[in-house]
């Protein structure tokens, strides 16, 4: 089994209109250094593919060793506009944490 981001971190997705945010919270200080250095907004955007139509912005929270990714146009319109079965993006954290990960 390849290592996945989930081995280093956990997280939760939330929705506001058509914007989803995904927190990625490191399990250890070493894991935080690793994800802070390598889990870029570009990488998240590429990984999520057609789930996210807009840009991805990354915020850092050194105080709780977590990153927050804000994904624009990520919910197919959001709310009842979305034609996805998971229109609120409840499972999106899992989509990101499934990323295969090779620690530096």
């Amino acid at each position: 089994m390849p290592k996945r981001l989930y081995d280093l971190a956990y997280g939760r997705a939330g929705d506001k209109g058509n914007i989803a945010n995904i927190s990625v919270i490191a399990r250890t200080p070493a894991a935080y250094r690793d994800i802070k250095a390598h889990l870029t907004a570009e990488r998240v955007k590429t990984h999520l593919g057609d789930l996210v139509q807009g840009e991805v912005v990354r915020y850092e929270m050194d105080n709780i060793e977590a990153l927050n990714f804000v994904c624009y146009e990520a919910l197919d319109g959001g709310g009842t506009r979305s034609l996805r079965i998971d229109g609120l993006g409840k499972a999106l954290a899992g989509a990101l944490l499934a990323m295969e990960w090779e620690s530096a």
Partner: protein, 453 residues
């Protein structure tokens, strides 16, 4: 002495009776019930169109019957934004229930002024462009203007006024979620409206409390090996014990299921948050990046060091409009040649719908890529494909016609194709589109009224 706030509702339909063990155990000094997600007001509008006396959450009846008598007896104020589109109607209903229950002296406050649906033209005339916050598009260019709801996010001030006037229950329309929880703190401690760090700390407490179960082990990936499914049904809802300087301990209703750990607090801290350095509320802009967490005991996490910046000039206004209707059909396709059959099914549909004003069509495969889109790999030769087809039209009749035309192909379609009977029988679902925007603070005047028993 700390001031203790319990949270007994995080969405319309949550278990509001979770307030009872908080009251009976003597664990709280005030209880808040947060009932309004972005779409909830549109749901309440549907109720109100059927019955003009409604438009508020049904939870309010239950709170009044089951929780208010015990809270009133112990002088624990109850605060809810479940008044939705009709806080006055809710206030009158609660007054009647309180009277029936003999709660003499019970004072119910109603906060309104958030509903600006009837004033959208006036607001534009007064220089508010109401541009879409996400896209920048001016409201005049919105493709349709069938506005269903229009509510401004109010802050804590009118609730503080009501509490300081001795209200036993405060019922509001759209008040920003964390401001519901900030209000009893400001009322109790007398914080100034420019004490930004204290206000911000109260907002963080509110933000952690406002989704009830989500901070005590619900929807928690970090808790997956620590909470049994049988325990999830009866989580002890959260309580914040707040110091005069705003720092607080997050804990839960004792003797019930769930847990509070730094992990559950971190998960909820970032829930539905964009820039954690600038968490914007009507009362203060909170900075989460300065705070510190400390695990000081079982189910006790201390939160300190929150900082705040001055409140924003503008208030958020969410408009909802009716944009059309959608329908769902679920088809089953089995091996062999499942992908070929799927292509046939798609072709059949497109031919059947020719000439109909169908706007969007989306196909997904349940159990394969319906959650994760292109993150998921598609199998080459699947044994089963469950195809979910979603399609939209400006009117519900078009969708009915679209489904009927497909039924004509029932015996003429791909080999072994099946359809879920429950999806055929469904009604069209209205598409309520959100138009988030801003409005000047000076254009919005909150109002507090009292209903006494």
């Amino acid at each position: 002495m700390v001031f203790r706030i319990g949270s007994a509702e995080g969405f319309y339909g949550d278990n509001v009776l979770s307030a009872l063990p908080m009251i009976r155990g003597g664990h709280v000094d005030a209880i808040c019930f947060e009932a309004l997600a972005e779409l909830t007001l549109a749901i309440l509008q549907k109720d109100r169109m059927k019955d003009p006396s409604r438009g508020y959450t049904f939870d309010i009846d239950l709170i009044a019957r089951k929780v208010l008598p015990e809270a009133f007896a112990r002088k624990i104020p109850l605060i809810t934004n479940g008044g939705g589109l009709n806080p006055q109607g809710a206030g009158e209903k609660v007054r009647q229930i309180a009277e029936q229950l003999g709660l003499t002296g019970c004072k119910i406050a109603v906060v309104s002024g958030d509903n600006v649906l009837d004033r959208l033209d006036d607001l534009q005339a007064a220089g508010e462009p109401l541009a879409n916050l996400d896209t920048g598009q001016p409201v005049t260019e919105a493709q349709n203007q069938f506005w269903v709801t229009g509510n401004v996010y109010l802050g804590a001030a009118p609730i503080v006024e009501a509490l300081q006037s001795g209200a036993d229950m405060v019922i509001t329309g759209r008040v920003a979620d964390p401001c519901l929880y900030l209000a009893p703190l400001v009322a109790h401690y007398g914080w100034g409206w420019d004490e930004w760090d204290k206000l911000a700390s109260g907002i963080v407490a509110g933000h952690l409390l406002e989704c009830t179960g989500q901070v005590v082990g619900g929807n928690s990936l970090a808790s997956i090996n620590h909470i049994a499914g049988t325990d999830m049904h009866n989580l002890g809802y959260p309580i914040a014990e707040v110091e005069p300087d705003g720092s607080f301990v997050l804990t839960k209703t004792p003797g019930m299921n769930g847990h509070v750990t730094p992990e559950t607090v971190k998960e909820q801290l970032l829930y539905e948050v964009h820039d954690p350095g600038n968490y914007i509320t009507p009362d203060v802009v909170a900075n989460f990046t300065t705070l510190r967490l400390a695990h000081i005991g079982k189910d006790r996490v201390a939160v300190s060091g929150v900082t705040g910046k001055p409140r924003p000039e503008k208030l958020k206004l969410n408009l909802n409009r009716l944009e059309g209707y959608s329908r769902e059909l679920i088809y089953t396709i089995g091996w062999p040649e499942a992908w070929r059959k799927f292509e046939q099914m798609k072709g059949m549909m497109h031919a059947a719908w020719e000439g109909l004003p169908i706007q969007r069509i989306a196909y997904s495969f349940l159990g394969v890529n319906s959650l994760y889109g292109s993150v998921a790999d598609l199998p080459d030769d699947p044994l089963e494909l469950i195809v979910r087809v979603m399609f939209t039209a400006p009117d519900a009749d078009t969708l009915k016609t679209a489904v009927r035309r497909l039924m004509n192909d029932g015996l003429s379609g791909p080999a072994g194709l099946g359809i879920s009977g429950t999806t055929i029988g469904q009604d069209a679902r209205p598409i309520i589109g959100l138009w988030p925007t801003l409005v000047g603070r000076d254009k919005v005047t909150p109002c507090v009224e009292y209903y006494e028993v």
